[in-house]
């Protein structure tokens, strides 16, 4: 039998899907209102460009022929967010992204090849400022959904509790220590592995941040702390109950020389980033920002077991889907 995710018409007629899509709409609404209230200006996101976010683990980018040149479908709008700061100090977009993740991620319940994220950037802000905003919009979305859909969710067995604040801010090193203390394997110099992240998430009764990842685990744009070489000023927001990462963000590198060196450290050729490098030469402001995964947030709010259920037409990694 064909899986449900390969039959979107059937999937869309299910009450569970309809509720998830309504909740997604409400959550996006709440986040948009909160960001607008904080002075953010919404941009309509770019779709393709000569380069896109390279900081994606083992996932392939989509390439199109653009008037005879290779262009990339956005895997995230990070480079354009920095560009957008030329107009305003606080910007966001709710953007579709394409990341052709390895087929092994098809069954993690948390990966999609095509997904949306609300992506924001703030000029002259620290990563602590960005974590404040991430906490605020996550709480706003959770409270709005709990208020409007709490009873319906409860009928389906999902009890959406308010998230206790403030969200703890643990360092990557502290998390590695916790994992080792629990007898679990984790390379102190790499990303927290998915099963380990799920373990930490399941143990927590509220959302929490993991910050200060080691260099070598992220894209070139996450700023290396000048006072702590080898440590990045970046963070992930981890949802509780085993739902795991929903936000990834950082304070950005913004100086030309630093970014060129960091590009090489991530195996990138600066020539590929022509327009971006030209912009850096002219100077860009320091900034911080993040992206919050819309389907992952929906999965948490609704208690769904897989992120594809929060997409009307899911693209499960490794499979040709409608």
């Amino acid at each position: 039998m064909r899986p449900e995710w390969s039959q979107p018409a059937l999937h869309l007629r299910k009450p569970e899907t309809k509720l998830a899509l309504r909740i997604q709409h409400r959550a996006c609404d709440a986040i948009r209102a909160e960001l607008t209230h904080m002075g953010f200006v919404e941009f309509l996101a770019p779709i393709v460009g000569p380069v896109t976010d390279p900081g994606i683990r083992g996932a392939k980018q989509g390439v199109i022929d653009y008037y005879g040149r290779e262009y990339r479908v956005m895997s995230s709008g990070i480079l354009y967010k920095q560009l957008a700061l030329n107009a305003f100090d606080k910007i966001f977009f709710n953007a579709p992204n394409l990341r052709m993740e390895p087929p092994e991620t098809a069954t993690t319940g948390r990966h999609l090849a095509e997904f949306y994220q609300i992506d924001l950037e703030m000029a002259r802000a620290t990563y602590d400022d960005a974590m404040d905003v991430a906490e605020r919009i996550t709480v706003a979305a959770t409270n709005a959904v709990a208020k409007e859909f709490g009873a319906q969710l409860q009928e389906q067995g999902r009890i959406l509790k308010p998230l206790r604040q403030p969200f703890p801010r643990l360092t990557h090193a502290q998390c590695v220590e916790r994992l080792h203390a629990a007898g679990r394997e984790q390379d102190p110099r790499a990303e927290i592995r998915w099963p380990e992240e799920e373990f930490l998430s399941a143990q927590s009764d509220t959302a929490f941040f993991i910050k200060d990842y080691p260099k070598g685990s992220r894209g070139f744009y996450d700023q290396e702390d000048p006072k702590r070489p080898g440590i990045l000023k970046d963070f992930d927001l981890i949802l509780p109950e085993g739902f795991g990462e929903v936000v990834s963000g950082a304070e950005r590198e913004y100086q030309y020389e630093r970014i060129i060196a960091r590009m090489r450290e991530t195996g990138e050729n600066p020539a590929k980033y022509g327009w971006y490098v030209d912009m850096l030469k002219q100077g860009i402001p320091p900034s911080s920002g993040f992206g919050i995964g819309v389907e992952r947030l929906t999965r948490f709010l609704t208690g769904l077991d897989a992120v594809w259920k929060a997409r009307p037409w899911p693209k499960v990694p490794g499979f040709p889907c409608p």
Binding site: K60, Q61, E70, P103, A190, R264, E265, N269
Partner: protein, 422 residues
């Protein structure tokens, strides 16, 4: 001063050739048409600082052989050379022999033989490295040139013939391949899942090569390809003959920090792949190798100046780069947890055994394998492997040893005073 057939001294003959042939005179080619059908390597052997060359090192067998005694206890009879176990871990892969097939240059010869080389290596469970730029120049899935197999055709030929639990496929990525995201492409391609699932896929960061360290990849391309490749590579405008142009890859810029973080990023982004780093024969090869191992590389390959190539300027072939022996002396015997591979000029068992005694875990074969295939396209490489297999068993057992990791510097006779600390 020697003179050539025309009675000219070498400096004058060379000066006249440069004046006549123009940029073609950079290379050991008399005519562009020779390109692609031959491979090149250094033309005069360079001695290590100690004055040593490979041939001055003798294999030093003992009469008292405790390891042979151990083997006799295991077998319950006197051991023969056929009782040598040549199997070893090559860069994280199980290999029946302490050698693997290195990436071949981007020549027509290597490209045409690609299928056969991959298939023969796979049948025997020998690890194979697929070189940089194959995907970018010949196409990832579909062929960009009808008579040259694409990257995936070669990879699939290897995968199809590979026995269970042996071998491994290593994919190189150059600066330009990185622009095309080759590793991400492979890592997310379902056709490579069988290799990933069994831990038999590796990625090799090429920091340079023995024959032309610091120069980057170099091929000659016809006018049509020059136009197509111009957007991705440096293509010289100058016609060096028969409308051919030089196509260059960037060598890549490294500092200790850049190298360390590239290795860490590979580890982080591709947790299911083995991570190999290929180093050119530079004066800081010891520091570079230490950086790679410290950052988590599964294997470091040092390609000595003896390494072969599809094409390199004569000045590089004759003068640039340290001889492999000097690299081995600089490196010293690596810690047992660190895997060192060496390549450059290996074609027979004695030199392979010497390199293993000096601390290498395995040896990469390049031009020798290509020559063997060229000598007999159907069976040449297989026979070549058979000879090497038996020769290695004979040499190792002659040293009173029966396992590759037991080989050590004690098995070599180095003229007194030539090697200070090994």
């Amino acid at each position: 001063m020697p003179v050539d057939a025309a009675g000219l001294e070498p400096w004058e003959a060379e000066s006249r050739r440069r004046a006549k042939d123009g940029l073609l005179a950079l290379f050991p080619l008399r005519d562009v048409s020779e390109y692609g059908h031959r491979t090149f390597g250094q033309r005069t052997e360079r001695a290590a600082r100690s004055g040593l060359s490979w041939d001055q090192i003798a294999l030093a067998p003992p009469l008292f052989t405790p390891k042979r005694f151990e083997r006799m206890l295991e077998l319950g009879r006197e051991p023969y050379f056929s009782d040598v176990d040549l199997s070893t871990k090559v860069g994280g892969f199980a290999s029946p022999v302490p050698f693997y097939l290195s990436a071949m240059g981007g020549t027509s010869a290597a490209s045409h033989g690609g299928f056969a080389l991959a298939t023969t290596a796979a049948q025997r469970g020998i690890p194979l490295v697929l070189g940089e730029n194959i995907s970018t120049v010949r196409g990832y899935e579909k062929r960009t040139q009808a008579d040259h197999p694409s990257f995936k055709e070669r990879a699939k030929a290897y995968l199809k013939a590979l026995p269970e639990k042996l071998g491994g496929l290593v994919i190189q990525q150059s600066v330009e391949d990185a622009d095309s995201e080759l590793w991400n492409h492979v890592y997310s391609d379902p056709d490579f899942e069988p290799l990933l699932a069994t831990g038999r896929l590796g990625f090799e960061l090429k920091c340079g090569q023995g024959a032309k360290p610091g120069l980057g990849g170099l091929t000659l391309v016809g006018a049509a390809d020059a136009k197509r490749l111009k957007t991705k590579f440096l293509v010289q405008e100058h016609d060096i003959g028969h409308s051919h142009r030089m196509r260059h890859s960037a060598p890549g810029t490294y500092t200790e920090e850049i190298l360390r973080n590239q290795v860490r990023l590979m580890r982080n982004n591709y947790p299911r792949a083995r991570i190999w780093i290929k180093l050119p024969p530079t004066r800081d090869v010891d520091a570079a190798a230490a950086t790679c191992w410290d950052a988590g590389a599964d294997a470091v390959t040092v390609d000595g100046a003896e390494g072969g190539t599809g094409l390199a300027p004569s000045a590089f072939l004759d003068h640039m780069g340290l001889p492999l022996l000097e690299c081995l002396f600089l490196l010293g015997r690596p810690d047992a947890k660190h895997c060192l591979h060496v390549s450059g000029g290996f074609h027979e068992g004695a030199r392979i055994v010497k390199a293993l005694c000096l601390g290498a875990r395995a040896v990469g074969l390049g031009r020798a394998a290509l020559a063997a295939h060229d000598a007999d396209e159907d069976h040449g490489l297989g026979k070549f492997f058979d000879v090497l297999d038996l020769e290695l068993r004979m040499l190792v057992s002659g040293l009173g040893k029966y396992r590759v990791p037991d080989l050590a510097a004690e098995d070599l006779f180095l003229p007194r005073g030539t090697v200070p600390t090994f």
